[in-house]
């Protein structure tokens, strides 16, 4: 099959076969990343703009490396150096960038759904690198690739996601992707950080306690407490949060013995995870980052070659 989307904005928009294709392509891309000369000419002559309205180290660098390994020309625009600080609207910024004829715009924006708005304004491909509390599809895909590396499959796995579900676009993309692939999701977090109705997204169970969620889990996915995105009222303090929803070597024993520990980063050590777990044998956190480059290469490849069928 071939990939028929011009944009990748949310895993909600992709079906199971399309997700499988992206993961399979990423597996092939990994071979390039292990070479001495890590470059193929596939996207030579394509211009990719990384438009990041929110700070990012991992995702921006990963997209930039992915573009360069495919021989595309990548340009980075970050908030402090862009005209957004001078009051330019997103639509105007987009039209101005478009006048420079990019082939793909990779954008991160604080407003959920801003990519759909942008996709209606421009004729190049849009890839979502995170929008507000909506989705972060490249993270969802790299999480699925990392899990598939460990278990060889995604169906029938118990995946616990613990933390601030409401503000987490990673959680949403993971839920959208993993439920389509046949995993069961168990969520835990303070009631103030649990979006109502989240169980309607598919095979999702909301647990009352963290213990319930991670009991016999194959994967324990911890989320960062997003202090920049929430008011002060959602939890009393980080120490109390850590006691009820932090992962440590003791409660990790509740999960299956070969359970994977994952985190989208950046980690608040000692808040959502203890350092023993972050640096422990079951941690796949750096593997996630490694897979991120291959997944983003696969995304850039498929939106570039694809037809204009939306």
């Amino acid at each position: 099959m071939s990939f028929r989307h011009k944009h990748i904005i949310a895993l909600r928009d992709l079906n199971k076969e399309e997700i499988e294709l992206l993961i399979a392509t990423a597996e092939s891309m990994r071979e390039i990343n292990s070479r001495d000369i890590k470059k193929v000419p596939t996207l030579r002559g394509k211009t990719i703009i990384n438009l990041f309205y929110e700070s990012s180290t991992r995702t921006r660098t990963s997209f930039e490396i992915a573009a360069k390994r495919l021989s595309a020309d990548a340009v980075n625009i970050s908030p402090s150096t862009s005209s957004a600080t001078k009051g330019e609207t997103l639509a105007d910024t987009a039209l101005n960038l478009l006048a420079m004829k990019p082939d793909i715009i990779v954008m991160r924006h604080a407003v959920s759904g801003s990519h759909y708005f942008l996709a209606n304004k421009v004729n190049c491909s849009i890839i979502n690198a995170g929008d507000g509390a909506h989705e972060h599809p490249s993270q969802g895909l790299l999480d699925m690739l990392t899990i598939k590396d460990q278990f060889g499959r995604l169906d029938g796995l118990k995946v616990a996601i613990v933390g601030d579900i409401t503000h987490s676009r990673v959680a949403r993309s993971d839920i959208q992707g993993l439920t389509k692939m046949g995993s069961s999701i168990f969520l835990a977090g303070p009631p103030t950080m649990m979006p109502p109705g989240v169980e309607k997204l598919g095979n999702v169970t909301v647990c009352g306690t963290m213990k319930e969620a991670i009991q016999d889990a194959d994967v324990v996915m911890m989320l960062r407490i997003q202090q920049e995105r929430q008011g002060k009222t959602l939890m009393p303090n980080t120490r109390e949060y850590s006691r009820y929803f932090g992962l440590n070597p003791t409660n990790l024993k509740l999960a299956k013995p070969n359970a994977m520990v994952m985190h989208p980063g950046p980690i608040n050590r000692g808040v959502e995870m203890s350092s023993y777990v972050v640096d422990g044998d079951q941690s796949h956190i750096l593997k996630q980052v490694e897979n991120g480059v291959a997944v983003r290469m696969a995304m850039l490849y498929h939106v570039s070659g694809g037809g204009s069928v939306e």
Binding site: S2, I32, T42
Partner: protein, 178 residues
């Protein structure tokens, strides 16, 4: 008009051609020293495996075997739409090796150009030779094969298909007329 198919090489014919090519490779390279086979996915990798088995029968040595996927090196990516990307798997260093690139059908030469670019990105072989089961003509690039199973004159609208069984053994070669 319905498509008509003619068998141009049956299983025995394919086997004889591969055996001859194996001997020719050994003769030209004076044995197996520094020799390695790289098949182009998909089709060429199966034939490379066949050649490896024959060389092993003759010389009692398993020469290194690899496979290259050229999707990332195509010059017609935009026109073809995105194709699934296969895996390049070359489990030996290419530097200093005599590489025999193996493909099933030689046509425009563009696949071979892409495969050579892919190999050169991975290392610096001492030389690259080309073995194909069928040469059907219509070259668009200055490329020729060193070892040919059979030359088949074709029209451009015709298609040459090499069929393999489930164990990747070649069954027959067909000429498909539109």
């Amino acid at each position: 008009m319905s498509a008509s198919e003619t068998v141009i090489l049956d299983q025995a014919g394919v086997n004889r051609a591969l055996t001859r090519i194996a001997h020719e490779i050994l003769e030209r390279n004076k044995g197996v020293e520094d020799l390695a086979l790289v098949g182009i996915r998909s089709g060429g990798d199966y034939l490379a495996g066949q050649l490896q088995a024959r060389i092993s029968e003759i010389e009692k040595v398993d020469v290194p075997l690899g496979a290259v996927d050229i999707t990332m090196y195509r010059d017609d990516l935009a026109a073809r739409g995105n194709l699934p990307v296969g895996k390049t798997d070359i489990p030996f260093p290419l530097d200093g090796k005599r590489i025999v690139l193996v493909d099933d059908v030689l046509y425009t030469g563009r696949t071979i150009r892409a495969a050579m670019d892919a190999l050169i990105d991975l290392g610096r072989p001492r030389c690259i030779q080309l073995a194909v089961l069928i040469d059907r003509g219509h070259r668009e690039l200055p490329i020729r094969a060193d070892y040919v199973g059979r030359n088949v004159p074709t029209a451009q609208e015709e298609d040459v298909k090499v069929r393999f069984d489930d164990t990747h053994h070649p069954i027959e070669v067909k000429l498909v007329k539109p």
